[in-house]
Each structure stands twice: as C-alpha cells, then as structure tokens.
C-alpha cells in the first residue's frame, strides 16, 4: 500500500519570467507530482545548458531558444505553450533615445543565444539597421542592471521582472513584442529522448500548471500578490507584467500544438527568420517539434 514505486525525478529548468510563474504557484499549492523538481536559474542560459548537459529533462524556454537547442543537437519536443509575448519583451532605452533609428551606434545589452537576440533582430529590421550598426553587449536581463547603473549600456533588451528594475532605474520602453505578434512563444520543452521515461511526471506537470493557470484566472488577486511577494515587486507591477502576455488555456494549447497548428506555423516563420539572420546556423527540421499528448484529455 504505502510502498508505491518512486518515480524517476523529473528535473525542469526555468528562470524568472511572469509566464512561468504558474509553475511556481502549482508547486506552492502542492499541485505538482512529487517527482517534479523545478530548478530556477537566472536566465534561459542556465536552462539551455542544463538541457544540453542532461541535468535537466525539460525546461521553460522561448520557441526560438528551443529551435536553437534543437539545431545544436539536443532534440526537444514542445508539450505545452505557456504564453505568447504581446508586449512583455521590450527594448528599454535611456531617456535620450526616442526613436528606433537613434539606436545606431548605441551599446545594446542582449542575451546571446536567447530570445533577446530575436527581439534585437526584429528591432534592427524595424529600425532599418544592420547588426554592425550597433554595439552589442552580451548580457542576460538578470545581468543588465549593474551595467545600466555603471552606464556601460545605453539600451537593454529585457523582460519582466528584470525590465521593471531598469524602468525604475530610468529606462523607458522603446519597442516591444506587440510589434511582432506570434513570434515569441514561451513553451515547456522536453528532451525528446526522455519523454517516455517521464510520461507520468510530464502529465502531472502539465496538469498542475494548468490548474495554477486556472487559479491565476479565477483568483487573480491571490495569485498575483503571491507572485509579487516572491519577486519583490508590487501587486500593480505584477498585474501590469501580465498585460504583456497571453496565456493560452489547455483547450487552446490543444489547438496550438496540433500537427498543423499555430505553433508549427510560428516555428516555420522563426526558422526562416533566424536562419536568414544567422541566429541559427542552419534551419531546424521541425520534426517531432510538438506533442499534444500530455495535455489533459477533453473530458
């Protein structure tokens, strides 16, 4: 009876980002299977390295980051779309910089090999600038505040909660992901080679996440005040951060993850964009990119 078999631990990487908070909420309320271990890194880089090294079996990443990891040789499958960025990813600039063209020659902090590069690419394209027109400083959002305060950067590509720190430090948003919808998708990606082994854990992970998402929906104040508390931001700021995000429900996820669903479509676009702008050395095959089987059944 009590001797239930212990499941293999499922190590899941994530980093601070409003879209990932429901996972932490789920953990807080005990809605995740015991086998699931969340590993909070500072930035996507930690998760990416963990996946490649095999210390993590799954991680919360943006779709472009997923493609990067796949092309680099670690097969990943997306089993859940956590959010779409509609404004949360932003280009923050010093007060003097009011236009996109003014970015020319500026020192821009961006996390290399992560979603920031994609945002930068989109921004440069909109500004009509080339990569060599700017001075790129490789820094993850979590590392940008000291550089900003030391005046070593003029512009930073960031996202909440880090973007709040920069705004408090005087930065103003110049451009954000509202300008390029259906581009930045945060997903839960699993190493394809480990999916079978973690079947139960992944199901529980997704179910727990969706339950927390429901909590966020119906008991907004409870959820947001908790998140704000552990992020050290205010309720209002947290609420504002979610305005830049669209969090698809389980039902919507089923559609997004369908074989010819929106995710694949977005991935195709990203694939092309990233290949032409050298963010990817070669296009991803996109095979086995999605799997909707871990979503709860219709019932």
């Amino acid at each position: 009876m009590s001797g239930c078999g212990r499941s293999e631990p499922l190590h899941v990487g994530l980093h601070p980002w409003p879209g990932y908070e429901p996972l932490l909420l789920a953990r807080h309320f005990g809605w995740l299977p015991d086998a699931v271990h969340l590993h909070e890194g500072d930035s996507a880089r930690n998760s990416i390295e963990g996946l490649k090294a095999g210390t993590l079996s799954a991680a919360c990443l943006t779709l472009d980051e997923v493609l990067g990891v796949r092309v680099a040789g670690t097969p990943l499958t997306v089993i859940l779309v956590m959010n779409e960025s509609v404004g949360a990813d932003a280009v923050l600039a010093r007060p003097g910089i009011r236009t996109l063209t003014a970015l020319k020659g500026k020192r821009i902090a961006v996390e290399k090999g992560a979603v920031g590069s994609l945002v930068l690419q989109k921004t440069l394209a909109a500004a009509g600038l080339a990569a060599h027109d700017i001075d790129k400083v490789n820094a993850a959002p979590s590392e940008q505040l000291p550089l900003w305060e030391a005046k070593q950067i003029d512009v930073a590509i960031s996202y909440p909660p880090y973007s709040k720190q920069l705004i408090r430090a005087g930065a103003h948003p110049l451009y954000d992901s509202r300008a390029f919808p259906h581009t930045i998708l945060d997903v839960l990606a699993v190493r394809s080679d480990r999916m079978r082994a973690h079947d139960t854990g992944l199901r529980g992970l997704v179910a727990g996440y969706l339950r927390a998402l429901e909590h966020l929906r119906v008991n907004r104040e409870d959820a947001l005040r908790r998140i704000a508390a552990w992020r050290g931001t205010s309720f209002e700021e947290t609420e504002a951060a979610y305005r830049g995000l669209h969090l698809p429900s389980g039902e919507e996820n089923r559609r997004l993850l369908a074989p010819q669903g929106d995710l694949i479509r977005t991935a195709r676009n990203l694939n092309e964009l990233m290949t032409t702008s050298a963010l990817l050395p070669e296009p991803d095959t996109l095979t086995n990119l999605t799997n909707a089987a871990y979503l709860p059944s219709d019932r």
Binding site: M1, A228, G232
Partner: protein, 1179 residues
C-alpha cells in the same frame, strides 16, 4: 399571443418610464442587512453612517439592520431586507436560493493606507505554544472559530487544513464562539489551542489597543505583496453588497454609483473601517471553496450529481449515439444510486438488511474501505458484488485488503495506491478507473468512487462503490477511435462543422467553421445561432430557413443550402451548408441538429463563369458549333439552328461538312486545316449551304481547344451570316460597275473587261475589237418626247444591242447615247463584221415606248487589238471613237474601222502615198454611188460617186482613210482624174442599160485649180462620147471654192459653158457670204448633213437650215439636203420646202451594179408623199 404580450410589455414599459421615478422613489424604506461579524452594537455604530450615506445619495431612506446568522436567514426568506452586506459564502447561499440577486459592489478593506478587495483567514495561537509551529500541528487540537459559515473565520482555514492533509476539527475539537473577538479571547485565555479569524481582525484589535500583538503568532503565514494583514490562507474576494430581488434596476444602478463613489476618507467609509467599494469581484474562488468543503449551498454529499454525470458522460452519450433509453436508464440508475448511497451510508449500522437489498440493486460493489494509521487497510463492509469486481468474497477482505490490491492490474496498482493516499491526505473524493485481473483470467475495467472521512483513531474511511465498466471502456475506446477518425476526416476534408440545439439556440462550431470566414473560433465568441445569422447573407438566410423548415416538417430528409457568408475581409464566401436533425423532442420538434460547412466559393465562381458562358453560348447572335477532335459536332447553339436551318438533333454527331456548299475547293480547306494545326485558329469567309439548299456567306472563326497536354480536344467554330452583307456589297459593286439606267457595264467595268480581253487575246493569239457606238438622232427623241422616253429608248436599245453580241462580248454604256463594246476571241478583223451589222441593225430597229415608235441609228467606230505598235486600252477606245466619228462623217448608221496603218501613215506619209499610188495602179479603188432623189415624187435625180478603197487586207476603206493623205499632193489630181474617168465610164454603162442618170463627182480644190483641168475634162468627155455634158455634175467644197474664188469661178464658168453643172458641197459650213453666193456659178447647193441630221434635235440647226433654204431661194439656186437619215428627216425637209435629198433614209452608197435595181424598186416613204409642199416650190 406574442403580439399581445409584446404590446402589453411595451405598454408597461411606457407606464414605467412615465411614472418610473415616482414608483421607485416612493417612500419605501430600503433595508440594508449587515451580517454581524462583530457584536451588534459595534456593527450598528460602524455601519449606520453608511446607511445614512446611501439614504442621502438615493434620496430614499435606507434602514440599517444588523443581523446575526439566524436572523439573517429568516429576514432574507421573509423579504425583510433589500440589501445585504455579508460574507461571500453567505452570499453564495442566498444566491443559491434565488437567482434574482445581484452583486452591486465588493468591499475594499483599508489598512495602513493599503486598500485591498480580498480577504483571507488567519490561524493564531499563543506565541509561546512551541508545539504548534505549522499547520500540521493543528491535528487534533481544540480550535475556536466564530462559526462554520464564517468565510474568513472558518472556511478559508478549513481548506488549508484539507490541502495539508490535516483533519478538520470536529466535535469536542471545534468550538463555535459566535464572533472573531471571542475567538481571540479564547486563544488568549487558553480555552482553545488555536483560533480562526478573518484577516484584519487582529490588526483592528491591535490598533484599538485591545490586543498585544506579541502574545499571538500566526500559523501557516502566507506571503502576499501589498496585503496589509497577516494571513494564513489563500485570498478570496471581499464581502459583496448584494441587492435582493425586491430592488428594482434603477435603484440598483443608483446604489452601485453611490457605493463606487464612496471615498475611502468619507466618514461613512472610515466608520465602517473600509476603504470603499470596487466593482463586483469574481466569486468563483468562494464557490470552489464551498464545493471543496461541501459547505452550504454545496453541502449535499457525495459530490456526485446528475449534472456531474451528464457532464462526464455527455460526449459518450451524444457522440456514441446511445439510444435515449440507455441515457435515461443510466440517469435513473445514477439518481437511484445517489439516493440509495446516501441512505445506505446514513443507515449503515442500523439497517444492514436494507443495505444489502439495496446493494443487490446496484451493479458492482458498495463498500467501506479503511486505511489504518499503520498503513494497512481492510474492507469493514463490502457488498456481495465484490466478487464480480475483485473475485473475492466480502469476508476475505474484511480484515485485510491485500487480496484486492493483488487483483489490481500490476500496471495500475501504483497509481491506485498513490491516489488513495492523496485522497486520504486531502480528504477529497477518490475516483479512479483501473484494471482488475479476475481469478478466471479475465481482465476487466472498473470504476470506483468513494468519499473519505478522517476518523478519530487516525484512520481514514471511505464509503463508495466500484462497478464494472469494461463494456463502457471498450465502447469509449471505440468511440474515441471513431471520433479520431471522424476528426481526421473533418480535418482532411477541410469541413466546418456545427451542432445546434434548435430549441435553445446553443451552437457549437469547429475551428474550420470560423476559418472559412476568416476568423478564429475564439474571436466569434460568444457563439450561438445568431453567429451564423450575423454572417450570412440575408437573402440566403431566408432560403436557408425555408429549407430548414422543410426539413423540420419532414418534407426533406436532410437540410442542404448554398449560402453566402461575409468573410472578415468583406467579400462573400459561398458555403454549402448541410445538416440533419439528430434528435427530436418527444413532441416531434427538432432538438439537436448537426451539419457541415464546405467552402464552395471556387465552385460557385466556376459555376457562374459557366453559366455566363452558357448564356453567351445560347444567346449569342453568332452561330456556335463545337466538335470533338474528330470534328464530330457535339454541340450547337440556337443561332446555329437559326442560320443553318438544321435542328440541333439533326447535326449532333455529324461532320460540319454537311454544310459544305462546294464553293470552296480542296485547297481552301487544306489551308484552313493547316492554319488550325499550326496556329490553332482560322478566320475567314466561307460559303456554306443551308438545309433548304440556299447558299449563304459566313464570317467564320475556328479555334482549336487543347487540353493540358496540348492535344486538341475540341474545335469551336463561331460564325455569323454575312449573306446580307455580301448582297449589299454585290449591290455596291454593281452600282460601281454597272450603269444604273441600262444595267449595262459602265466605264469602269468596261476598262476591266477590255484589259482582260486584251490579255486573253495576247495569250491566245486572237484579236479584240473595241466598238465605239454613238446613237444617231437620239437627241431629237429626248427633245421631242422628253427624257423619260429617251431613257426608255436607251433601255430598250441597250437590251437589244446586248443581245446582238456574242457570249463573252461586252457592251458598256459610257455616257449619254454612247456605248462601247468589247468583242473578244476574234480570229481576224473581218470576223467582227457580223456583230457590227447586228449592232447597226439592232440600233436602227424601231423601239416602241408606250404608243410611240422611235427610230435611231448607230454610228460605230471600231479599233482592233493587237496592232503593229504597242497600244493601251485607252488608246484603243480613242481610236474607236475616232473611227466612229469617221462613220458619222461617212453618213451615219454605219461602222468604220480604225485603220491603224492609215493612222500611222498620216504620221509617216511617204509610205502611204506610195501605197495609194500603188492602189491606183492596181485598180484597188472603186466608186460607190449614193442616189439623190426628189423626195416627194420619188424620182431619182442622180447619184453621187464616192470613192472607196477596196484594200486587199483591210477591206473597204472610206475616203477619210486615204484622201487626207493625198490632199495637196499631185496624186490627188491623178486620183481625181481616175474618178472622173470612172464615173463617165459608168454613166456610159448605165446609159447602155437604159438608165439615164446624172452623176456628181467631187472635185478637190487642188484639182480644180489645176491649169489643165478644163482641157483634161474636155479630153475625158471626148473619150466618152455616150455621155452628155449635162450628165456630169461637179461638186466642190465650199471651202475649196473660197480658196481662190476668182480662179475657181473662172473654171466653173468655162465648164458651165461646156454644159457641165456645179454644186457646192457641205454648204453652210464655210464662210459663205451673200456676195460669194451671188457670184458663185453653182446651180445647186448641197446643205451639209450636219445641219440636216441634227435639225430634228437642234433648233439652231433648224434655223440655219431654214436660213440656207431661204438664201438658196433668194439667189435662185437649187437645194438638195444631205444626211436624210430617217423618214422623219425627209418629212421635215419637205415641210420646209426642200424636196431633194440624199441620205441613209433613201439609200446608202452602193456599188454601181446595185444602182439600177435600186432605182427600179425604190419608193419614197409614204409619209413623204403626204407632206404638203409649203414652199410651193416645185420642179
């Protein structure tokens, strides 16, 4: 009914609007009930200002009623309160009782400047209770709460305990203390181990100095940003202000406004210790809380309702198409089971038998299962059905459940164990589906559900049932497969789907349904049948509903309709909407209907294009004919039928050659086919034959239609009947080429025919004759009878003269009374003579116009092609014209052939003179004689000798052909002598035949002036002793006489002495003067034929003629008229008193041998005998 209702409603609304304010503001007191979470006096003190505030704002008394839990229930039930300010869980109860309640606003609490619209619960214990550190330490502690219906005072904490796996306090462990303050007191006093209060209570007490905060500690503290209170639970929306059904809408609105407008600093807010109000919060979390705790109104147990069953099995039932019977049975079973289960559990210990009876009714097993604190488990009770589920007897598991777990499928057993543990920990319903291996080797699927309860001995006990669902799982699996297949098909066929509850309007679409009109399904929400109606074209919607009605009435087995829907981009999308009613209500109304949407826009567009093409095909004025690649007709249109006269049925399958007229040769069709092969089309004109045999012209375009591989599939022929056009063209051509009056070819066509004839002659080595024909006396007809008659004459003559020609010859009218003929295929020049004679004859014959008998004649000039020199058509015509003139000169009604050689000789004289000299030597000249008569008596007065050249090659040539050549040449004298000699010889001969006749001979000026003239005349006369001098008359031209008047006069005088008479020829053409006339010793004046010929037409000529006659009379000269061409001329001359005449009407010049016979037989025309002699002159 509905009309009446709507009228009534409208009337009511009108009244309400008119009287509205008076009704709602009647001096009714609104009663604001506030739930007393604090002692009543405190509550009244706190909330009276709010009631006052609302009274002022509403201009209507608002009475405050503070109610505790029991009072509140009664007051609400009795309708004694209108507004409620109560906690969320109580609101749920009220709402559950009556749906006519509305939340107007949610309270905002305020603490230290922080305003929050959430509340939670706090768990407190004394700070020094080291044994109580975490929530788990509350197990089996005595807990004080204000009451179980307090949200913040019990329910919120209860959920946290459940989640943490801590048993809820009950019995002696739960103390209901009535208010939060008392709970704090009880904790402080140690009467309870821990207390539950709502958020904010502690802070208030501390603020009021009634509590030392250090004495208490909060258990299970939660971290919330910006939340001013200590809290142990999750957060829920704050208290709502609830309007009960007694409050009308206008009042509700004003209340809402008043509440939301209440500022945090307003005395009413401060008194109530609140921060004001915000718009209504979502009370779903409260609802979920109540459900989890099975608190009122969700306190029915187990948490397993009909609705749940329906929700759970809906898909299976609907999609699987189970019969209604099965559904009802299932529902009845569940309902029955639910009731039975509840009863059974309640009566477990006392009514065992009843339970057993009941258990028999229920398929599967009803059981109690207990998990002991030591981890072992057993079934204190199991109905006999456990044998069917686990293959064990109730007795076998009464003390130890191991055998049951052994029976569970190895792959499922861990999951079941885990879920049992979770259920035990959270005290939530256990519900699982899993496999069991039965002793007989079968594996079955079972479903179990049971509710746990924590027992005081630390064990957890479940009451529940398990049943065999193998069949259902299989059905489910099949259904899933089927559904997947169906979905694959839907996705694969790109079909939109819809399900519609006809009675309620509830509608479900799939994503594709929305995608067809450019939307995502999400964007169309909320979805109902209105969504369809909104996007569908109104016209089509009408058709759709008619078709639907038809289907509903059972007249159509299914519904099918093509309709336009407005695409997001604004254009219309054609969809094929199909469906069928799947379920009917018991009274035969359609209930559930489902169907599909297919995007058929492309097909519709193709249809429209086809329809247009078909329209063009059938209504085109052009005939259209379509064949297959073997040129068999596969389709024709109406215009084809109209033009060709063939019906469609007659030509289908036939080859278009049935229309062939034979007017085009093989080469034509070969070229057409070649064009079709190489260029894919052919365009041109063609003669075809109608069914009635008539030939018609068509303008035809044939196009080869090729398929994808370039192979010709069809030929399409488009043609229009251009016969009328052709006819018109021909008419125009006729007008251009033919003379409108006589229908003879005109000058243009003549030129064409002439050229053609010349070419042909050159090729064939033959001759062409150009005949220039001028009518003699036509002018007179016109003048006397008018143009109409003249025209009729021309028409008649043209017709007659045309007939005189041979086939292949052409007669053209080139103007007035002038015609030109082209005679072709002539072997030699002479061969045209018969035709010329026929022409002369045709022209001279009388023409009858009405009662008139008209006579004219023709003068014809002829030129022959080819000639020694190069000659063009114009030249030929000019030559013929010249010849015609000669013919006229020679007395009209005759033809004259242009002598190219002679013409040439005029230009090259030597040769010709020589030829004439030779001719003289060879006796090629002859004399013709034209009689001169007395027209009235018919007496032959004499004959004029006229020289002709009987040319061995060119035939008989008139003097004009050679005399001009020798004029002023000695040869002329020689020829003149020959003429005189010959004429004298002839006179002698005639005398010998008994014909006494004088002969006049023309003498040229040169001859007359010759010094030897008189002597030679003598010699000649001497040589012809049988000739008397008076038998000879000499005619001299007026002009030659005038040349040397004196000399001529002398010669004349000498001759007269000899007895020889003279006459002046061509009198009137010279410059005769009276002096000249008087002195000229000529007995006779010959009036020039030009005056005579035209006197009938030309009054001037007539006047001159009259003048000449008058002169002749005055000078006592005899007169004779030349050019008497017709009897009419004779009549006129006779009328004028001129009795002697010479001309065609009397006789043409004739060979000498013909004269005697002529003289014997000739009689004057009868009309001349009757003509009175006005002049009175006589011989």
């Amino acid at each position: 009914m509905s009309t009446l209702f709507s009228w009534t409603l409208r009337a009511w609304l009108l009244i309400a609007l008119t009287l509205g304010s008076t009704i709602t503001t009647a001096e009714e007191h609104l009663k604001l009930g506030v739930f007393a979470y604090l002692p009543k006096p405190v509550m009244e003190q706190r909330f009276q200002p709010l009631a006052n505030y609302l009274s002022t704002q509403l201009d209507q008394p608002v009475d405050l009623v503070v109610l505790d839990q029991e009072d509140m229930e009664a007051a609400v039930n009795a309708g004694r309160v209108d507004l409620l300010l109560t906690n969320p869980s109580h609101y749920l109860i009220v709402r559950n009782r009556s749906s006519m309640v509305s939340v107007l606003a949610t309270v905002v609490s305020r603490e230290k400047g922080q305003e929050v619209a959430s509340l939670g619960g706090v768990i407190v214990t004394l700070s020094d209770r080291a044994d109580i550190q975490s929530i788990r330490d509350l197990e089996r502690q005595r807990i004080g709460v204000p009451g179980m219906r307090y949200m913040g005072g019990f329910q919120t904490q209860a959920l946290e305990l459940l989640e943490a796996g801590v048993s809820l306090p009950q019995g002696e462990h739960l103390l209901l203390l009535g208010t939060h303050d008392r709970v704090i007191d009880a904790v402080l006093e140690g009467r309870v181990d821990a207390g539950f209060v709502r958020t904010g209570v502690i802070e208030h007490l501390v603020n009021e100095g009634k509590l030392d905060s250090t004495r208490l500690k909060v258990i299970h503290p939660q971290q919330f940003a910006g939340f001013p209170y200590r809290v142990s639970t999750r957060l829920y929306p704050e208290w709502p202000v609830v309007a009960l059904m007694s409050v009308d809408r206008p009042t509700m609105r004003r209340l809402s406004v008043a509440l939301l407008a209440l500022d945090a600093d307003h005395p009413a807010a401060r008194a109530a210790h609140i921060g004001g109000f915000v718009p209504p919060a979502d009370y779903t979390p409260v609802e979920q809380l109540a459900r989890r705790l099975r608190m009122p109104p969700y306190d029915t147990s187990p948490e397993f309702t009909l609705a749940d069953v329906w929700t759970q099995y809906r898909w299976g039932i609907v999609m699987g198409g189970m019969t209604l019977g099965v559904v009802i049975l299932l529902l009845m079973l569940v309902a029955h089971r639910q009731r039975a289960l509840k009863a059974a559990l309640q009566a477990l210990d006392t009514a065992f038998q009843e339970r057993e009876n009941l258990a028999k009714q229920v398929p599967g097993v009803i059981y109690q299962f207990r998990l002991r604190a030591d981890g072992t488990s057993h079934f204190p009770y199991a109905s006999k059905g456990i044998r069917d589920i686990y293959g064990v007897t109730p007795e076998q598991v009464m003390d130890d459940a191991s055998r049951v777990f052994e029976a569970i499928h190895p792959d499922d057993v861990d999951r079941i164990s885990t879920s049992i543990q979770a259920s035990a920990r959270t005290l939530t319903v256990w519900h699982e589906q899993y496999r069991v291996n039965l002793p007989d080797g079968r594996t079955i699927w079972v479903e179990g559900e049971s509710s746990p309860e924590a027992r005081s001995d630390g064990s957890i006990q479940w009451h529940g049932y398990i049943r065999d669902i193998t069949e259902r799982v299989q059905v489910d699996q099949e259904l899933r497969d089927e559904r997947r297949r169906l979905n694959d098909i839907l996705v694969g066929t790109h079909v939109g789907t819809w399900e519609w509850n006809v009675q309620t309007g509830e509608t479900i679409f799939n994503e594709r349904w929305a995608e067809i009109i450019g939307y995502r399904l999400e964007e169309l929400r909320p979805i109902s049948i209105e969504t369809w109606m909104k996007f569908t074209h109104p016209d089509d919607l009408k058709i759709s509903s008619e078709l639907l009605e038809k289907h509903f009435r059972g007249e159509a087995p299914y519904y099918e309709c093509e309709a336009r829907m407005r695409h997001r981009d604004g254009h219309w999308v054609w969809i094929l909407d199909r469906g069928k009613v799947a379920t009917w209500t018991s009274d035969g109304k359609p209930l559930l209907m489902s169907g599909t949407h297919q995007d058929i826009t492309q097909r519709k567009q193709a249809d429209q294009a086809l329809r247009l093409a078909a329209n063009v095909f059938s209504h085109a004025r052009e005939g259209i004919l379509i064949t297959d690649r073997e040129a068999n007709i596969v389709e024709v249109n109406q215009a084809f039928v109209h033009i060709t006269g063939y019906s469609r049925e007659e030509v289908l399958g036939k080859n278009p050659r049935l229309l062939n007229s034979g007017r085009q040769d093989k080469d034509f069709y070969a070229a057409m086919f070649h064009d079709l092969q190489t260029q894919g089309h052919w365009h041109g004109e063609l003669w075809n034959r109608r069914k009635d045999g008539n030939v018609y012209a068509e303008m035809l375009t044939i196009t080869a239609v090729r398929d994808g591989s370039g192979e010709v599939q069809n030929y399409i022929a488009l043609f229009s009947d251009i016969t009328p056009l052709k006819e018109h063209q021909a008419q125009l051509e006729h007008i251009a080429h033919y003379d409108a009056l006589t229908r003879l070819p005109n000058r243009w066509l003549l030129a064409d025919r002439l050229k053609q004839g010349m070419r042909q002659a050159s090729r064939r080595g033959q001759l062409v004759a150009v005949v220039y024909l001028d009518l003699d006396g036509f002018k007179a007809v016109n003048d006397i009878h008018g143009h109409e008659v003249g025209d009729q004459l021309l028409i008649g003559l043209a017709h007659r003269m045309s007939k005189a020609l041979r086939e292949g010859d052409t007669l053209a009218r080139i103007g007035g009374d002038e015609f030109v003929g082209v005679l072709v295929d002539l072997p030699n020049a002479e061969s045209c003579t018969p035709t010329l004679q026929r022409l002369l004859h045709a022209a001279a014959e009388a023409v009858y116009v009405g009662d008139l008998e008209l006579h004219v004649s023709a003068s014809i000039g002829v030129s022959i092609y080819p000639q020694a020199e190069e000659v063009d058509p114009d030249q030929l015509v000019r030559q013929a014209d010249q010849a015609m003139y000669q013919a006229k000169q020679s007395g009209k009604n005759r033809y004259h052939i242009f002598d190219a050689e002679q013409d040439r000789s005029v230009r090259g004289r030597h040769e010709s003179l020589e030829r004439i000299r030779q001719a003289l030597k060879n006796h090629e000249f002859v004399l013709y004689y034209q009689p001169k008569v007395h027209m009235q008596s018919g007496e032959v007065l004499g004959a004029e000798a006229l020289i002709r050249w009987q040319h061995p090659e060119r035939g008989l040539l008139p003097p004009a052909a050679f005399l001009p050549v020798i004029e002023n040449h000695p040869l002329a004298v020689e020829l003149g002598e020959w003429v005189l000699d010959n004429a004298l010889t002839q006179i002698e001969a005639w005398h010998g035949q008994g014909l006494s006749i004088s002969v006049s001979v023309n003498v040229g000026a040169l001859e007359l002036q010759h010094p030897d003239f008189v002597s030679r005349l003598h010699t000649l006369l001497d040589r012809h002793p049988g000739v008397r001098a008076q038998d000879l008359e000499l005619e001299i031209l007026e002009t030659s006489a005038l040349e040397d008047f004196a000399a001529v006069s002398r010669v004349m005088a000498t001759c007269q002495e000899m007895g020889i008479k003279f006459s002046v020829d061509d009198f009137g053409t010279g410059y005769s003067s009276l002096t000249y006339l008087k002195r000229l010793p000529a007995a006779t004046l010959k009036i020039d034929q030009s005056f005579v010929r035209d006197m009938l037409d030309n009054p001037e000529d007539l006047a001159i003629l009259k003048g000449l006659l008058g002169l002749a009379e005055a000078f006592n000269r005899q007169v004779i008229a030349e050019g008497v061409e017709t009897p009419a001329h004779g009549e006129m001359l006779l009328r004028l008193g001129c009795t002697c005449g010479q001309g065609y009407a009397i006789a043409r010049p004739m060979p000498a041998q013909d004269l005697p016979r002529w003289a014997m037989t000739w009689t004057a025309p009868p009309s001349w005998n009757l003509t009175p002699d006005f002049s009175g002159q006589s011989r």
